[in-house]
Symmetry: C2
Subunit: 460 residues, 2 copies
């Protein structure tokens, strides 16, 4: 099919989307107005029911399947081709706190300056809604979907997708598909659409030391009582050197370095150093990096050990002469292929013990293995190419992104290639106050997904 023919094919679809934009945003707003905070167990069943109803209204067969946590929705509708696209989304959202930092209430979606604000408006209800909007347009123009579409929509993405891997194993056959469209995606600071072929894994722990049953006065105990804060500081300092090298034996054993092809793809990405300097106010980068392709490789291909939080003793104004009995640190390891969180858990325990820190305990607060699709996979090319008429350029296919998610289970349990594509942008503020979506990117994502479904059905 020529580019000209394709453009013509989508004139009706695009007209539909342009005309119905306001109505679609209204439907999205109703979805966002229904809180669904997985971490707080707030509104989960009501939101799941609302989403199920939205899918049924579009002719999908929908089943709400319980898990030990929040239910998962499975939905399916046949299409003109037997090719099957699996679309992964989630109906849960992050907690909205701190509420006082929102310009308008998080569960009362508000449109301002071309942006829709509200908790979950981007992550992930906007993505789900834009995809349903694309389906509306296709059904209007063709009265059938161009391919079979399955949705798997979970309610625990924001709390680590704890039951999803097991769910995928159990429902492997019903979820059989040829490819998977991921729950999110974004454009960069220059509005170039990005497609990520892989996600880093995560292993998130809280380290805790307790040295006594209560705090002591530092004048009394300072030279004779063990101090939990010192134990913690010393234990942490054995985890990573000042050169950023993680010192846990075996940690790097499974790491696959980027290939020449990975480097080539990353080199195609725009420079990010100045953007980061301006946005975050960092004056220098780690490892002597100053920018360019090496910075972009490091940000996604290096595993990390990040202290996310430290807590001990007195933290108020001024001084208090206290010797803390308890100290804790939240530590986030990002993992790259082929590391895995179970191995890192064993390595961390063995390391702490070997270093004399058997008093430092840890609780695992999150774990997901890393996963990646071959960036040269034809499905990824298809997703990228179908974006070109909408964004004015194909998506840049990047081998990895720095964030994490349950893609490993899709890749390895279902055996499908996974591509990201979505309506995020650098100021989406997902997980933060004033989460928002840009209406122009919402519309673009819907137009892109319509093209993707058609092309995906045709090539099957």
């Amino acid at each position: 099919m020529s580019a000209r023919a394709r453009t013509a094919d989508f004139a009706a679809v695009d007209r539909f989307l342009d005309r119905r934009l306001e109505a679609s945003l209204a439907e999205l707003s109703r979805l966002v107005a229904q809180p669904s905070v997985a971490a707080q167990g707030r509104g989960m069943e009501a939101c799941a029911a609302q989403v199920a109803e939205m899918l049924r209204a579009r002719g999908f067969a929908v089943e709400t399947i319980p898990t030990p946590g929040h239910p998962v929705l499975l939905a399916e509708r046949a299409g003109e081709s037997e090719r099957t696209l699996l679309i992964y989304n989630h109906y849960d959202v992050q907690p909205a706190e701190p509420l006082e930092l929102w310009t308008s209430p998080p569960f009362e979606p508000a449109l301002r300056d071309g942006r829709l604000y509200g908790r979950g408006v981007s992550d992930d209800k906007g993505h789900l809604m834009a995809r349903l909007f694309a389906i509306d347009a296709l059904l209007d123009a063709r009265s059938a979907l161009p391919c079979r579409v399955k949705f798997v929509i979970e309610g625990e993405e924001e709390i680590g997708s704890v039951h999803l891997p097991e769910f995928l194993v159990r429902h492997r056959e019903r979820l059989a598909a040829d490819a998977c469209l991921w729950e999110f995606g974004y454009v960069d600071h220059r509005d170039m659409p990005l497609l990520h072929a892989g996600l880093r894994g995560i292993f998130y722990v809280e380290l805790t030391v307790e040295t006594a049953k209560r705090d002591a006065h530092s004048g009394l105990g300072g030279s004779i009582f063990p101090n939990a804060a010192w134990r913690l500081a010393w234990a942490l300092s054995t985890l990573k050197g000042r050169d950023e090298r993680i010192l846990i034996p075996g940690f790097y054993d499974a790491v696959q370095p980027p290939s020449a092809r990975d480097r080539e793809r990353i080199a195609a990405l725009a420079e990010v150093a100045d953007e980061y300097r301006a946005r975050y106010g960092v004056t220098s980068f780690l490892r002597g990096l100053t920018g360019g392709v090496e910075l972009r490789i490091a940000e996604v291909f290096e595993p990390t050990c990040t202290i996310c939080g430290l807590t001990a003793g007195y933290q108020g104004q001024g001084s208090k002469t206290v010797l803390p009995a308890r100290a804790s640190a939240k530590v986030d390891f990002r993992l790259v292929p082929d590391q895995n969180p179970e191995a890192v858990a064993r390595q961390l325990r063995a390391h702490l013990d070997a270093q004399g820190f058997d008093d430092v305990r840890f609780e695992v607060l999150g774990k997901e293995p890393p996963g990646r699709t071959d960036p040269d996979h034809p499905f990824l090319e298809l997703v990228s190419e179908t974006a070109a008429p909408v964004y004015g350029m194909p998506m840049a296919i990047l081998p990895m992104t720095g964030g994490s998610g349950p893609n490993h289970a899709f890749l390895h349990t279902l055996g499908v290639p996974v591509a990201t594509a979505g309506l995020g942008y650098p100021d989406s503020r997902v997980h933060a106050p004033d989460e928002n979506l840009r209406v122009d990117l919402y519309l673009k994502h819907a137009k892109h997904v319509a093209r993707l479904l058609v092309a995906f059905g045709e090539r099957g």
Copy 2:
């Protein structure tokens, strides 16, 4: 004078104190009911005026002298002998927060089970009141004080006696004395009265690192952005080794080890290891110490570097994948003779710079040099001996205590020996909710001070 004669001498004094105990506690309660929280600037002038009035009522000439902070009271009354005892107290108290942990309101003194509860009831208003009570008894029995008594009563002890050293320099002549009775003192867990000849100094800082203008997502920045919490953990780990040795060059240069005589005196003190294990729930002590004289020496003769607090990033329930832009630690150095806080400040800065941590800034939140009187000084012997008829044993004279205070200025500006003696006990809860004094120890302290004043006058 024989012990028998002495006993007879004090029969009238003791009768007075026994009979008037209730009235004295009522006067103390009125003093405690007047808040005087230096850190919050609450009730300071009213409390100073109340104390001045209490002194005038006992025939003292009183002057309230302004400082750049809260005023200092100077009071003086001549006695039968020209020997002059300087008594140091303070009228300020610690903040009462957290209020919800008090059994009865902190500024509504309440008597329960032989204890008087209230903020400042022990630290330090009870000490001041017990001493005035002793003076009342002497004036009743003899119509004159046995020696000249001067009071210096400051209003900033709980915020580091910031203006007192300068005040002592300025008023050196008016404060001339032969010896000084310190603001506090206590019995140990077996009710043995303790006399401390020295106090450790203190150098309290807040270390701060800032690596960016705002937090980043750990999935984005983890491998390329500097992390303030890591910088802090690494910087801290260079301050002290896991063997408790402080690694700041020059830190130990001025340290005077305990003499054979110091060790001998400390050996006379009761075993404390089991008491500490029970009270604090510590299972082991630092430096391989298990108890005995070595533990008691370490607790007061070792300088310390204590992490009193750690703050960075996310500290709530569960996980948040944040890369902190800011981290801080409160660190308390206890100093022993002849260290001094100015030198430690320079050493700390030089050390951090030399270790590559010029990004770690610190703010000084408190500093007092250490100071000690010769434990064999005759004044200390006198204070100890005069306690014997009251406590059934002389005070154990110990070369040092672990806490800090402005005794250095008394020792070096005024040139007076300084002895501690007081009504504290291990469960006084000073600086904490339910601060209290034991009425029996209040009475004992008054009886002891009466004997001390008489003996002090006689030996002049």
